[in-house]
């Protein structure tokens, strides 16, 4: 009998212990917010970013030089010409593309194709030719050549662009680029930006493709900017392979400004024109009125309302 009573008490003790354990676990597991609404809840996470690099809007003339190995890339022809504006206050950015065969006034050299401004007068001369056409004096000129451009795109893991039509080039890209969202490695990004003959709009469509490439590069930079050392490595690479009038600190500032551009606030236009001849040379007579209007439109805020 005593043994039975003892066993019964043990069983009751076990039940009590089990119940207490359940209560204890419940007390620990059930969120305290149920009884303490002000405790242990993540209230709010907010985020802010901003960069100031002097004036609100910074203008950069990006030039792709066609210099061959051994040639000085700042004294060759400028094949790709994009005037890029960045508004560090609003996060907007714009690119005004100029066809390389545009027949323009080059300071000190009369009228020539704009791509020869780099050959005649270097980056400063190219900046002057762009100022004459668009009406904006760039703060910085950055000149690069194709091999570096390819390496840079490879370094950032390639880019993705939206290609509006299929096109190809028998020398640069036999199999061509399909229509739609496509991923490009370094070589393909170069070919995508250089091919002209396979495009209905020729030089104008090529300039627009260069802007698609710039958007792709920006997207990659923005996506990786918070990786420790990503921007610093990029600046080191640019210093090694680019000719620019920006010092390392300024390059770093510009890179951070680029990283903070909002992709939804990027606008681009290509200066229109009429294809014609000067002597035997095929040239583009640019729509100067439109070019000036684009310059006026974007000068103060790096945003284009219409092309």
């Amino acid at each position: 009998m005593t043994g039975f009573v003892t066993r019964a008490r043990v069983v009751r003790g076990v039940r009590a212990a089990a119940l207490a354990a359940v209560l204890a676990v419940t007390a620990l597991v059930v969120p305290q917010g149920a009884v303490q609404p002000t405790e242990m809840s993540l209230v709010k996470i907010r985020h802010a970013q901003g960069v100031s690099v002097g004036d609100d809007v910074v203008w950069i003339l990006a030039v792709g030089s066609d210099a061959r190995p051994g040639e000085d890339m700042t004294r060759s022809r400028g094949d790709a010409l994009q005037m890029v504006g960045i508004n560090t206050r609003t996060g907007s950015a714009t690119a005004i593309g100029v066809p390389r065969d545009s027949w323009v006034s080059i300071p000190g050299h009369g009228r020539e194709k704009i791509n020869s401004a780099l050959y005649f007068s270097g980056p400063r001369g190219m900046a002057g030719a762009m100022r004459n056409l668009v009406g904006i004096e760039p703060d910085y000129v950055m000149v690069t050549r194709f091999p570096f451009f390819e390496d840079m795109v490879d370094d950032i893991g390639g880019i993705t662009v939206t290609n509006p039509r299929r096109f190809y080039d028998p020398y640069l890209k036999k199999e061509g680029f399909r229509k739609g969202r496509i991923h490009l490695g370094g070589y393909d990004a170069m070919a995508f930006s250089r091919i002209r003959k396979g495009l209905v709009g020729g030089d104008f469509d090529r300039s627009a493709n260069q802007q698609r490439t710039l958007r792709g590069i920006h997207a990659r930079i923005r996506a990786q900017a918070d990786r420790p050392g990503f921007i610093e490595r990029g600046v080191m690479t640019v210093m090694e392979h680019m000719a620019t009038n920006a010092d390392p600190g300024e390059l770093y500032e510009l890179a951070q400004a680029v990283a903070q551009v909002d992709p939804r606030r990027i606008t681009t236009c290509v200066v229109r024109g009429r294809v014609g001849f000067v002597g035997a040379a095929s040239v583009v007579f640019p729509d100067v009125a439109q070019a000036r209007r684009l310059g006026r439109d974007a000068r103060s805020d790096a945003a284009l309302r219409r092309c």
Partner: protein, 205 residues
């Protein structure tokens, strides 16, 4: 025959022990639910604060990586100088001064003029302004800064400072706040200055 005392059996002792553990939890939950101001946690937090107040948390500044060549002596100088710039912002914006208050007029020492103008429009995040009226005191719990340095010509040209600040607030706005992100610095007029930021702030109550 004397009855065995329930407290003398192992199971009963276990049950009693668990109950002893459970009851204070239940009591705490009930008292907090009915009167949050009297929650025992608050009192214990106050004790922690009193203890830490005599040993304030120091900022730990480290160099994550140097891109380019920079002599050790100069690395140390950059580490110290940038650490001080970050500390000055944290002290002006979150940790220093008297509470409660709603005004943070000089919250951005070490920022460039342009960056300060940007930061003023982000004061809700880059200072304690929004909750300052409901805060009685602030106590830092964690302060760390990790630097990526860009150097050319054996000179530091730019710094990305990855920062983490965690602090507790007491008063009507009691809880833990974490400020985390990146600050971008270059040398201007002989000193390191913050020209940009990418910062998030979260609060746990």
């Amino acid at each position: 025959m004397p009855r065995p005392s329930p407290g003398r059996t192992p199971w009963a002792r276990l049950a009693a022990l668990v109950l002893v553990l459970v009851l204070p939890l239940s009591a705490t939950a009930c008292s907090s639910g009915s009167d949050p101001e009297a929650a025992p946690e608050r009192l214990s937090r106050g004790d922690d604060r009193a203890t830490l107040a005599s040993h304030p948390v120091q900022t730990r500044t480290t160099i994550h990586r140097v891109f380019g060549r920079l002599p050790d002596a100069r690395r140390k100088v950059v580490r110290r100088q940038v650490g001080e710039v970050v500390d000055r912002w944290w002290d002006a914006a979150y940790l220093g001064g008297t509470y409660p208050r709603s005004s943070f007029p000089s919250a951005f020492p070490g920022f460039t003029k342009g960056a300060e103008a940007r930061a003023r429009s982000d004061k809700a995040l880059l200072t304690n302004q929004t909750g300052g009226r409901r805060i009685d005191s602030v106590e830092a719990r964690h302060r760390s800064v990790s630097l990526d340095i860009l150097a050319t010509g054996k000179q530091a040209r730019s710094v990305t400072a990855h920062v983490v600040l965690r602090f507790d607030t007491a008063g009507d706005k009691t809880g833990t706040t974490v400020v985390r992100g990146r600050l971008f610095l270059v040398r201007k007029r002989g000193a390191w200055r913050i020209f940009g930021y990418d910062v998030s702030k979260g609060a746990r109550r």
